[in-house]
C-alpha cells in the first residue's frame, strides 16, 4: 500500500529507510523517524479505535503525550504491551499494533450499540446501573464491562525486558527542550553548572520544530539544533531525549523515565528497555510548554477532528497531510500557522475564526496567500461517522450566543485551536499553588514551594521574544549563584509573526432542535450533557464532578479536557473558573511502565541474598535451602529419595544418638567493648550481668519498653571489657539499632562501643552425646573436659592452625558446642569437622532438624517470641530480675501481664499420637461449639518428636500453667482438621536439662 498522504518534500524523517509494520493485521509502510500515528496517517488510516463508553469511532486527536484516543496494544518479540499511545510510539521495522476497545473489530463494533442507547448511559451510569443485585457483579456486570469497555490487555507472561534505575544529582534540571528549556540550559551550562536537560520526544526543540519563527537569523529549528549540538559537547551537561520527567517529589527529587529501546525492533542484550532516573536537583526549571485546547462543538469526536497544532506537526515533522480538504477552526493566531503550512504544500484550507476582525502579521500573510478566511464563524457540528465528510458551520454573534444560518461545507478534516493550556503538572506536583490567569483562560504556576521556576509557555508566556529573554536570564542567574561564574550569553533577536491574543470562546452553542454530543473528555466519553447532569444532581465540588462523570480520569488525565470542563462548570454554576478550582495533579504525568518502576529488583533480586562461607559445601552435599530473612540456610540434606520429613527426622535422630553439625553462621553477632559493657548488658537483658566471669557465657532475654520480648541469645565475656553477643538471625539488625539507640540517645554516660560482627565469624554448632569426643579430636591441644569447659563455658582453641572460639552452649538440648572461626576459614572448619567426625557418625543437619530438636526441648524461638509475648508466656520469668531495673521492666506490671490466667507456653500431643497438628491451629475447649468458638490459644510450632516418635507441638495457651493434663481440640479451618489433643509440659524431653551439662 502506498503512502498517499505523504508529501514529496518535507518532514524530518529519513525517507531512505522504509519500514514495514502491521496494524490490525494489515501491512503498511512508513519511514524511520515516523511515529505509529504519523505512519498510519500517511497511509490514510484515521480509524484507530473505539471510544470507551459509547464505542464511537476514534481517530487521532493530537500528536504527542496529550493524545486521548489513539491508544493501542503493541506486540514485539512475542510480548505485548497495552495502552501505548500511537502518537508517542516510534515506528520500527516489524512493529505490530492492534486497536483496543473494539470487539469483534474496529470496523464492526458490537459495543457501538451503546451509541444508540446513549440515553441510558449518562453521567454516573456505572454507579447507577451496576449496583444491584450484588450477586450479579462478578458474574455478569464486571465481565461485561471489562469486555466491552476495557482499554488494553496486560500480558500474563513474564516480562523479559530489563529495566534499570539510576540516581543522579545536578545543579539544574530542565524539563523540556523547547525555546525556554534550550535558552536556560545554554546560559546555565556556559556558567559551568551541572545541567540535565530532558525532552520526552525523540527530537529536541519543542515548539521550535514546527513554529514559523526566526531566532538570530536562522529558523527556530536550526537554532535549536545548534544549541543542542553545542550542549552535547559540554562535559557538565547531560541532554536526554525520549525522557519524560513524570514526577516531582519532596526535596527537589524528580523521577524521569527514559525510553532506551522502545523505538527499536528488539532490545540489545544487557540493554534496558527503560531507565528510571531519580534526580536530586538544586534547581528545577520547568519548560514543559503548553498543550493546545480544543473548542467544543457537535460530534467533535469524529475521526478527522484534531488539534490544529497536531495537524501542523504531522505536516512539518513527518511530511504527512491529515487531509486534502482541511477546515481550520480557531479562536487565535495558531490556526493560521497550520493553514499556511497546508497552503505551502498546495492544499487549500478554509479558516473559520471566531473573532470578528483580528489583526496580526500572520493573518496578513494568510490573506496574501489567498487563504479563504471566515471571521465570526464557527463549526457547529462535524458530519460523518468513521471520518469527517463535511461540517455544519454558521456565523456567530459577538456575545457567542446566537448562531446564524447553518451551512454545510465539504471537508475531510477539522483542525481546531482553542488557544493554549500551560502544562503546569510538574509545578503543581511540587506543591506550587497555581493561579488562574484571566487573559489566557488557564492556570499558571503561582508561589513556588520547592526550588522550581516555570518558564515560557508553561508559565503562560506565549511571546517567543519574552520567553527567550527570561529564560536566558533565569538560567544565567541561577547557575551564577551555584558556580560563581558569570559568562554572558548574547540574546539573539527574534522574528515572530503571530500575536498571542485569543478569543475567550470555548464551546459552540447547540443549534435549536439539535442535540449533538459535544465531548469534553475524549478518552472517557464525557460530554457537556454529562457535566450538566452531575451538576443537576447536586454535585458541586470539581473533585466530585470529576469522579462522578469520570472527566479527566482516563489515562491522559484530562490533558485536553480539564479546562473546558472547568469552563462549563463555572458557566453553569455562574462562578469564575478560579473559584471552581482545578483537580489536583498527581504523578505520574504520563503512564509509566510498572517494569520501569520495579527496575531490576525482580524475583531473587528484590533483596540481596546472604550466604554463609559454607554455602558451597551445602550445595555440593544436596542441601535443600530455605529463606531465613535474606539468608539462605540448608533446610535439610537430601539423601536418596528422602523427603523433608524423612530427612529431618534422620538428621535430628542422629544428633540425639551420635553427633550432628549445623551451620549457625547466620546468627547475629555483636561485638561489645568498653568499661561499661557489663552495665549496658545489665540494662538491656532482663537477668543479672554484672557478675559474669571472663570465659563464661550467659543466656539472656531482652524486652522492648512495652514489656514484650524482643530477642534472646547468649552473650559471652571474652575478656575484662569485651563481650560477644549473639542474637537470633531475624532480629540481628534490630538488636544492633536498639543498642545504638540507648547508647547514643539515652545513656550517654555509658562508655561502650558496639559493632556488628555477623559477617566476620563463621559458626558451626556441634551437638550430640558424642560431641565432646569429636571436640577432643578437633582441638587435641586443649582440655575440653567437663571440668575445664563446663556448660556455658568458653575457651579459645587451635583448630589445625586456625584460631577458634569454642562456646559450650546448646540450642538442641544435647551436649553441644558452637565453634566460631574467622569467616574465611569457615569452609576449612566445616570440612575438618566432617572429616574428623566421620568416626562418630557425624551428619550435617538443617533448620528443620534444628527446629525439631528445640521444639521437643521446649526452647522458644521466633514463633513464640512473636512480638506478642512477655517472658512469663515463654516460661522465662526465672530470668527476670526482681532486684535491678532493665528496659521494659516497668511495663511488666501491667494488669494484663500479671493476670492469674495469663497465657503461657505448653506442650501439645495428639491423643492418637499419629496426627501432626498444623501450626497456627487454634486450641478450643469444644469442637462443636457455635462460631465464633472461643480461642484458648494457638499452636506456635510443631514437629515429629524423634525422642518419642510421635507428633509434638508447642502452644501459647491461656492459663497454660493450670492446663497441663487437660484435653482440648486443635482446630485448623485452613487444613480442615479437628484434632483431639492433650496438654503437657513444654519441656517434653529431658525436663531437668541434664544432657547439656553432661
Amino acid at each position: 500500500m502506498t503512502q498517499t498522504f505523504r508529501i514529496e518534500n518535507g518532514g524530518f524523517i529519513n525517507k531512505d529507510k522504509k519500514l514495514s509494520f502491521k496494524f490490525n493485521g494489515k501491512t503498511y509502510f512508513g519511514y524511520e523517524g515516523d511515529t505509529l500515528a504519523s505512519a498510519l496517517l500517511a497511509n490514510g488510516v484515521h480509524l484507530i479505535g473505539r471510544s470507551f463508553k459509547y464505542h464511537r469511532p476514534r481517530g487521532f486527536f493530537g500528536a504527542g503525550v496529550d493524545e486521548p484516543y489513539a491508544v493501542v496494544q503493541l506486540y514485539r518479540n512475542g510480548e505485548t504491551e497495552p495502552n501505548i499511545k500511537a502518537t508517542e510510539q516510534e515506528l520500527f521495522e516489524g512493529l505490530e499494533a492492534k486497536s483496543v476497545n473494539c470487539w469483534p473489530s474496529v470496523n464492526f463494533d458490537i459495543g457501538a450499540i451503546n451509541n444508540f442507547l446513549k440515553i441510558f448511559l449518562p453521567a454516573g451510569f456505572y454507579y447507577k446501573t451496576f449496583m444491584w443485585p450484588k450477586s450479579f457483579w462478578y458474574r455478569i456486570y464486571e465481565p461485561f464491562i471489562r469486555k466491552a469497555a476495557g482499554l488494553g490487555v496486560a500480558s500474563t507472561k513474564h516480562d523479559n525486558e530489563r529495566y534499570e534505575h539510576k540516581y543522579e544529582y545536578c545543579d539544574l534540571l530542565i524539563a523540556g527542550s523547547g525555546p525556554s528549556g534550550l535558552a536556560s540550559a545554554y546560559a546555565a551550562a556556559k556558567n559551568g553548572a551541572r545541567v540535565i536537560l530532558a525532552e520526552d520526544k525523540p527530537r529536541f526543540g519543542g515548539s521550535l520544530l514546527t513554529s514559523d519563527v526566526n531566532i538570530g537569523n536562522q529558523s527556530g529549528k536550526d537554532w535549536a539544533e545548534g544549541i543542542i549540538a553545542e550542549l552535547k559537547t559540554m562535559p557538565n551537561v547531560v541532554v536526554k531525549n525520549r525522557s519524560q520527567i513524570f514526577g516531582y517529589y519532596d526535596h527537589n527529587m524528580l523521577v524521569m523515565s527514559e525510553k532506551v529501546s522502545d523505538h527499536l525492533p528488539s532490545t540489545k542484550k544487557y540493554h534496558p528497555n527503560k531507565r528510571l532516573w531519580y534526580i536530586r536537583a538544586k534547581e528545577v526549571l520547568i519548560s514543559s510548554g503548553s498543550i493546545e485546547r480544543p473548542i467544543v462543538f457537535g460530534n467533535n469526536d469524529t475521526p478527522g477532528v484534531m488539534l490544529s497544532s497536531a495537524a501542523k506537526e504531522y505536516l512539518k515533522v513527518y511530511g504527512v497531510l491529515v487531509g486534502r480538504k482541511p477546515l481550520v477552526f480557531t479562536n487565535n493566531d495558531s490556526g493560521y500557522e497550520t493553514a499556511i503550512e497546508f497552503k505551502k504544500h498546495g492544499v487549500d484550507p478554509v479558516v473559520l475564526d471566531s473573532r470578528k476582525n483580528p489583526e496580526s502579521e500572520i493573518i496578513d500573510e494568510a490573506k496574501s496567500l489567498r487563504i479563504n478566511i471566515k471571521y465570526s464563524y464557527v463549526v457547529v457540528a462535524a458530519q460523518g461517522y468513521k471520518k469527517v465528510k463535511s461540517a455544519d458551520i454558521a456565523s456567530i454573534s459577538e456575545d457567542k450566543k446566537q448562531l446564524g444560518k447553518i451551512e454545510n461545507i465539504q471537508c475531510d478534516c477539522i483542525c481546531v485551536s482553542g488557544f493554549w493550556t500551560p502544562t503546569i503538572h510538574l509545578a503543581s506536583q511540587s506543591g506550587n499553588k497555581t493561579k488562574y490567569k484571566e487573559e489566557i483562560d488557564a492556570f499558571i504556576p503561582g508561589q513556588s514551594k520547592q526550588n522550581e521556576i516555570t518558564l515560557g509557555a508553561a508559565n503562560g508566556v506565549f511571546s517567543l521574544d519574552e520567553t527567550l529573554k527570561t529564560s536566558f536570564k533565569v538560567g544565567s542567574e541561577l547557575s551564577k549563584k551555584i558556580t560563581k561564574k558569570n559568562n554572558e550569553v548574547a540574546i539573539p533577536n527574534v522574528v515572530e509573526k503571530k500575536s498571542s491574543q485569543h478569543d475567550k470562546f470555548w464551546c459552540v452553542p447547540l443549534p435549536k432542535g439539535k442535540n449533538y454530543k459535544r465531548f469534553l473528555d475524549f478518552q472517557n466519553d464525557v460530554a457537556v450533557s454529562d457535566i450538566e447532569i452531575a451538576l443537576r444532581e447536586g454535585y458541586r465540588s470539581i473533585e466530585h464532578v470529576k469522579r462522578y462523570t469520570t472527566l479527566g480520569m482516563a489515562t491522559d488525565q484530562g490533558k485536553t479536557s480539564n479546562l473546558n470542563g472547568l469552563q462549563l462548570v463555572s458557566e453553569i454554576e455562574n462562578k469564575v473558573v478560579p473559584a471552581v478550582g482545578h483537580t489536583t495533579f498527581r504523578p505520574p504525568y504520563t503512564p509509566v511502565s510498572i517494569g520501569a518502576i520495579v527496575g531490576r529488583e525482580v524475583g531473587k533480586h528484590s533483596k540481596p541474598t546472604r550466604k554463609s562461607p559454607m554455602h558451597e559445601w551445602h550445595e555440593k552435599n544436596n542441601a535443600v535451602f530455605v529463606d531465613a530473612g535474606i539468608w539462605l540456610r540448608p533446610r535439610y540434606y537430601k539423601k536418596g529419595n528422602e523427603n523433608l520429613f524423612e530427612a529431618s527426622k534422620r538428621e535430628a535422630k542422629n544428633v540425639r544418638t551420635n553427633v550432628g553439625v549445623c551451620d549457625v553462621t547466620t546468627l547475629g553477632k555483636i561485638d561489645i567493648k568498653g568499661p561499661d559493657a557489663a552495665e549496658l548488658l545489665n540494662r538491656v537483658y532482663t537477668n543479672a550481668w554484672l557478675k559474669l566471669p571472663v570465659g563464661k557465657a550467659r543466656y539472656g532475654v531482652m524486652l522492648r519498653e512495652d514489656g514484650i520480648v524482643m530477642d534472646d541469645g547468649t552473650t559471652t565475656r571474652i575478656s575484662e571489657n569485651h563481650y560477644h553477643m549473639t542474637t537470633t538471625t531475624a532480629q540481628a539488625a534490630n538488636v544492633l539499632s536498639h543498642l545504638e539507640y540507648y547508647l547514643q540517645l539515652v545513656w550517654h554516660e555509658l562508655n561502650v562501643n558496639v559493632v556488628s560482627t555477623t559477617e566476620q565469624w563463621a559458626g558451626a554448632a556441634i551437638a550430640g552425646p558424642k560431641s565432646r569426643d569429636l571436640l577432643k579430636k578437633l582441638f587435641p591441644n586443649s582440655d575440653v573436659s567437663n571440668e575445664v569447659l563446663p556448660f556455658m563455658g568458653y575457651m579459645e582453641g587451635d583448630l589445625f592452625g586456625v584460631k577458634a572460639r569454642i562456646f559450650r552452649i546448646s540450642f538442641s538440648g544435647e551436649l553441644a558446642y558452637e565453634v566460631n572461626v574467622e569467616s574465611d576459614y569457615g569452609n576449612f572448619m566445616w570440612e575438618k569437622i566432617m572429616e574428623v567426625g566421620e568416626e562418630f557418625n557425624i551428619q550435617p543437619y538443617g533448620t528443620e532438624a534444628l527446629s525439631t530438636l528445640r521444639i521437643e526441648m521446649g526452647h522458644v524461638a521466633g514463633s513464640e517470641l512473636d512480638g506478642r509475648t512477655i517472658p512469663y508466656d515463654n516460661a522465662l520469668e526465672g530470668l527476670v530480675s526482681k532486684k535491678k531495673d532493665f528496659i521494659g521492666k516497668r511495663s511488666l506490671h501491667r494488669s494484663a501481664f500479671i493476670a492469674e490466667d495469663r497465657q503461657r507456653i505448653v506442650g501439645v500431643v495428639p491423643l492418637d499420637k499419629q496426627t501432626s497438628i498444623p501450626e497456627g491451629s487454634h486450641l478450643v475447649k469444644d469442637d462443636k461449639a457455635p462460631l465464633p468458638n472461643p480461642k484458648l490459644g494457638h499452636i506456635s510450632a510443631s514437629c515429629w518428636s524423634v525422642e518419642y516418635d510421635n507428633p509434638f507441638s508447642l502452644a501459647i495457651l491461656k492459663d497454660g500453667k493450670n492446663m497441663i493434663g487437660q484435653k482440648l481440640f486443635a482446630m485448623s479451618p485452613l487444613k480442615n482438621k479437628v484434632i483431639p489433643v492433650e496438654i503437657v509440659s513444654s519441656h517434653y524431653v529431658d525436663p531437668k536439662g541434664e544432657r547439656v551439662r553432661s
Binding site: D250, H251, M253, E740
Partner: protein, 89 residues
C-alpha cells in the same frame, strides 16, 4: 523522597535512614520509680501532630548514628538536624 542533612555525613537521601519516632520523648531514668501515667506517656502516648516535629532518624546505611530532625509533618520541610547529644534550642 526526603533529603536529610546527616550532621555527620552531609546531605543523604531518605532511603539511607530509618525512622525512630518522636525525639522529644525522654526515657525515665533507669532505677527510678515512675507513676503509671509517666510510664504510659513514655511508652504509648504520642501527639501525632501536624506541623513542626522533632523526630529521630538513624542513618542506618551510613554512619549508623541516631540524629534528630526538625521536620514539618504536613509539608515535609526539614528545618534543622542535630547530633544525638546536641541540645535543641
Amino acid at each position: 523522597m526526603l533529603y536529610i542533612n546527616c550532621p555527620h555525613c552531609g546531605m543523604r537521601s531518605q532511603n539511607e535512614f530509618s525512622y525512630g519516632g518522636d525525639a522529644s520523648v525522654k526515657r525515665p531514668e533507669i532505677n527510678k520509680e515512675v507513676s503509671d501515667q509517666e510510664w504510659d506517656n513514655f511508652v504509648y502516648n504520642r501527639k501525632s501532630l501536624r506541623g513542626k516535629h522533632l523526630e529521630l532518624w538513624q542513618h542506618i546505611s551510613g554512619c549508623r548514628q541516631w540524629i534528630k530532625v526538625e521536620r514539618d509533618t504536613g509539608t515535609h520541610e526539614i528545618f534543622r538536624t542535630f547530633k544525638a547529644d546536641e541540645e535543641v534550642a
